[in-house]
């Protein structure tokens, strides 16, 4: 995952509610109504957050019968991959700092 795609995805995820939504979808596909029943957020707000998440490509709508469900997209968004990505970003920052220190010694 390049930083070009990582940055907007991280920005989309840097929100408490969207994170809750994504975590809930990680347990299984769900409609906006079903998510609203599980989370302390209105269905309208959930729909907005889902739109943000869909825009950066981390969730996608799937029609199931009469309702639209959302599902998490891509292996990059498995819990482990997200975690390892975050750890990698931390190392990027640390290595950049080490570089700066070593080059100024």
């Amino acid at each position: 995952m390049s930083t070009d795609t990582l940055v907007p995805v991280l920005a989309a995820l840097a929100d408490e509610t969207r994170w809750s939504i994504l975590t809930a979808l990680g347990e299984g596909d769900a409609s906006a109504s079903a998510l609203a029943a599980r989370l302390p957020v209105t269905r309208q707000a959930i729909a907005k957050h889902l739109a943000v998440l869909a825009e950066v490509g981390v969730v996608e709508p799937v029609r199931v019968g009469r309702e639209v469900q959302y599902r998490v997209v891509g292996s990059q968004l498995s819990a482990t991959a997200r975690r390892l990505d975050a750890i990698g970003a931390e190392w990027d920052r640390r290595l950049a700092a080490i570089k700066e220190i070593a080059e100024s010694l």
Binding site: L6, A14, G26, R83
Partner: protein
């Protein structure tokens, strides 16, 4: 080989390994100092204190407002590689007083001399032994807002 080795990153989900490499325009000795001397470690990591510099030495990394994380030097092959084990299990919800095999991960720095200086590689392993990945994930998320800013700064700075 391109010069931008910061892009040569690998996230290997199956082995729970994070690897990063960066080329540094400084001698191996200077890079070695930056990654082993507490005074320097304190600048790129947490405030570092160690009771020695040989394998088995223990110490702490301290962040204001967070606490002290226990750390242990696992292996040293000066000036080619050094491994640190640190209690990196955020999901525990509390900071352990000492490093154990089940509450920690290991990161190893490897230094290679290059024409322009030093190629520094870091590999962190052992995430499969830490507790609940989902809880760790949630805990890590809280660090993301800040990380994002730093990431953007790093990218825009063309490091």
């Amino acid at each position: 080989m391109t010069t931008d080795h910061s892009q040569a990153s690998v996230v290997d989900e199956s082995t729970f390994t994070v690897r990063r490499t960066l080329d540094i325009a400084a001698s191996v000795a200077k890079v070695w100092a930056a990654i082993t001397e507490p005074e320097h470690i304190s600048r790129w990591f947490g405030r570092a204190q160690f009771d020695g510099s040989a394998p088995g030495s223990t110490g702490t990394l301290t962040w204001e407002g967070y606490g002290s994380v226990p750390v242990r030097i696992e292996a040293v092959d000066a000036p080619r590689s050094i491994s640190y084990r640190w209690a990196n299990d955020d999901a525990l919800g509390q900071l352990p007083s000492e490093v154990t095999e089940t509450n920690s991960t290991v990161f190893t720095f490897t230094l290679e001399e290059t024409a322009g200086g030093t190629r520094l590689t870091v590999v962190e392993t052992g995430f499969e032994v830490t507790s609940a990945p989902a809880a760790n994930l949630e805990s890590h998320r809280q660090g993301w807002d800040g990380e994002l800013d730093k990431l953007v700064a790093l990218v825009e700075g063309g490091a």
